[in-house]
């Protein structure tokens, strides 16, 4: 008994090692190599210009070394970004304006608030669309139209209008997040609330259940898997919305502000580290939603695949 367990465990590790760890690390390694090569390729022409202007002799070796250690490179080398990340994430106090943790927190808070707003709005719209036929006909075209407008075009207007109404700071930013992320929730929830089959609905009718009983005991539980699929999309674009919202407002806080400041001053290393933090943040948020999906669906007795 024990022997077989060990054997299975061993072969599992073996498979994991063979089929997952190895290819993943090869690809990561390849990306890093390409990145370093790319840094040389992108940065070298400026370096060569500089060498010729100052009439210094240069070797290829020196060129490669210099292109990986410029202060404002076109493409920074990965180790430069790591150094910058270490400096701004771990070496600064998190309350400091130079700490990326601080800026990430600013963006995260408006992401989460926008996500909550968007989820509530998305679900409310879906419930209305499913239950009221006129809403289905009248609302859906507007909802779709709203998503065809580029967010960069409408974001400044939202900020200005809300500013006039006395709303500044966190709320306008989260409204832009909401504007982006309610859409997948509405679409997913409409599909989810309509997912019960004829038999499941007829069953409720034979119990002479009211519309609200059918809603809470059938439509809502049936929609939960659809909701989670939507939430995963929504949390990611909510983060995008929060970052985009920081760009046109001249915000001084948040990852978007770091991106903007970086591009004003040609601080590419700063831009790249903000991007890395933003993508790590996005991965973490999606992971948290996936984790809660697993927990909730397991509680709802979904057959493990």
């Amino acid at each position: 008994m024990t022997e077989t367990t060990v054997h299975i465990g061993g072969s599992l590790w073996h498979r994991l090692y063979n089929w997952k760890v190895f290819p993943v690390s090869v690809i990561v390694l390849a990306i890093i190599v390409i990145w370093y090569a790319g840094a040389v390729y992108m940065n070298s022409s400026r370096l060569i210009d500089n060498y010729e202007r100052s009439k210094t002799d240069w070797t290829w070796e020196q060129l490669v070394e210099d292109s990986w250690s410029m202060e404002r490179p076109i493409l920074p080398a990965p180790d430069q970004i790591v150094v910058e990340l270490n400096k701004t994430v771990f070496q600064k106090k998190i309350t400091s304006k130079r700490s990326l943790v601080y800026h990430a927190w600013v963006t995260l808070s408006s992401t989460l608030l926008g996500f909550v707003f968007g989820t509530v709005l998305g679900v409310v719209l879906a419930v209305g669309i499913v239950h009221v036929q006129t809403l289905d006909r009248s609302l859906m075209p507007w909802i779709i139209a709203s998503q065809t407008i580029p967010i960069l075009a409408i974001a400044p207007m939202i900020i200005v209008v809300l500013g006039h109404l006395g709303l500044t700071g966190l709320v306008p930013k989260s409204i832009i997040s909401m504007y982006l992320c309610f859409f997948p929730i509405t679409i997913g929830m409409v599909k989810g609330l309509r997912s019960p089959g004829v038999l499941q609905l007829d069953l409720m009718k034979t119990y002479s259940a009211t519309a609200s009983e059918t809603f809470w005991k059938l439509r809502i539980p049936a929609s939960i898997p659809f909701l989670f699929a939507s939430l995963k999309v929504a949390i990611a674009i909510s983060l995008v919305g929060a970052i985009v919202a920081e760009l046109p407002t001249g915000a001084v806080q948040g990852l978007g502000a770091r991106l903007l400041a970086g591009s004003y001053y040609g601080q590419t290393i700063q831009i790249w580290s903000a991007l890395v933090v933003a993508s790590l943040l996005g991965m973490m948020l999606v992971w948290i939603v996936s984790l809660s999906e697993t927990v909730v669906l397991r509680k709802m007795g979904v057959q493990p695949s």
Binding site: G197, D202, L203, K205, T206, S208, A209, K217, A222, G301
Partner: protein, 264 residues
């Protein structure tokens, strides 16, 4: 057909149902007359499209007749439905996958606002009626098809209706499971003294189960024969070899043949 003094549970007179479809109206039920008495086990048998399921859905108030009269327990079908006068077993188990077996059976009881204790008591009582005690905490996907259908029967029984409507409940199951469930169903009928209406297209199933067999034919859906079976109430599968059984089967088959047009 009904004996004097007994008020029928279901009385149907001159019932017609016409579905308006995109191309042409479909005459699903034509001039149906039928009385069903308390304690009867009635099977509707006929080829597909003969309106047997539709007739049962009219009784359950899931379809509205175009004209004619129908009463269920002396009320209109809608009143009967609102009073939860019947339990309905569908072709598929239609269990809610996010509810355990016990919670599925408790679903109608929640809607009826019974106390939690009553709900649980009824769930366990009806689960043992269908021989599924011990499966309370399982989810539907952990059960076989036959077990799922038994849960759905327990769910229909938990409402404690006098009338049980069953729409080809064993149609999707293999023959061995079906035979077994038919025997169980007969025992259940004998124990609970309920009125059962059972839709099927299997002649042996109809003859084995029923005290009254309603033979139907399609286009338009109508009743062509009503056979009162005098087989004993407690029967076993062996009865299918007896001459009486074969005789009734023969009459059902004759009825189906006469009503069936072979022009298509």
């Amino acid at each position: 057909m009904s004996e004097a003094g007994i008020k029928p549970v279901i009385a149907i007179e001159k019932l017609n149902l016409i579905f308006e479809t995109a191309d042409a109206p479909v005459h699903a039920l034509a001039d149906v007359d039928l009385n069903i008495n308390s304690g009867d086990f009635v099977s509707f048998i006929g080829p597909s499209g003969c309106g047997k399921t539709t007739l049962m859905r009219v009784i359950a108030d899931l379809e509205k007749p175009t004209d004619g009269s129908i009463s269920v327990n002396g009320m209109s079908p809608e009143e009967a439905r609102l009073k939860r006068a019947y339990g309905y077993v569908f072709q598929a188990p239609a269990l809610y996958p996010w509810r355990t077996v016990e919670k599925n059976i408790m679903l109608p009881l929640e809607i009826m606002n019974l106390s939690k204790d009553q709900q649980r008591a009824r769930a366990s009582k009806n689960l043992s009626l269908v021989n599924l005690e011990g499966f309370e905490k399982k989810f539907p996907w952990q059960l076989s098809g036959g077990m799922q259908q038994r849960v759905s029967i327990a769910r229909a029984l938990a409402v404690e209706p006098d009338l049980l409507l069953m729409d080809e409940p064993f149609g999707a199951l293999d023959e061995i499971t079906r035979d077994h469930l038919n025997e169980q169903l007969l025992k259940l009928w004998d124990q609970t003294k309920k009125t059962v209406i059972f839709v099927t297209h299997s002649i042996p199933e109809a003859v084995f189960l029923s005290s009254k067999i309603v033979v139907m034919s399609p286009r338009p859906g109508k009743i062509i024969d009503v056979i009162d079976s005098d087989l004993p109430r407690d029967r076993t599968l062996d009865i299918r070899e007896s001459p009486e059984f074969l005789e009734i089967s023969h009459r059902v088959r004759e009825g189906l043949r006469s009503g069936h047009s072979y022009d298509d």
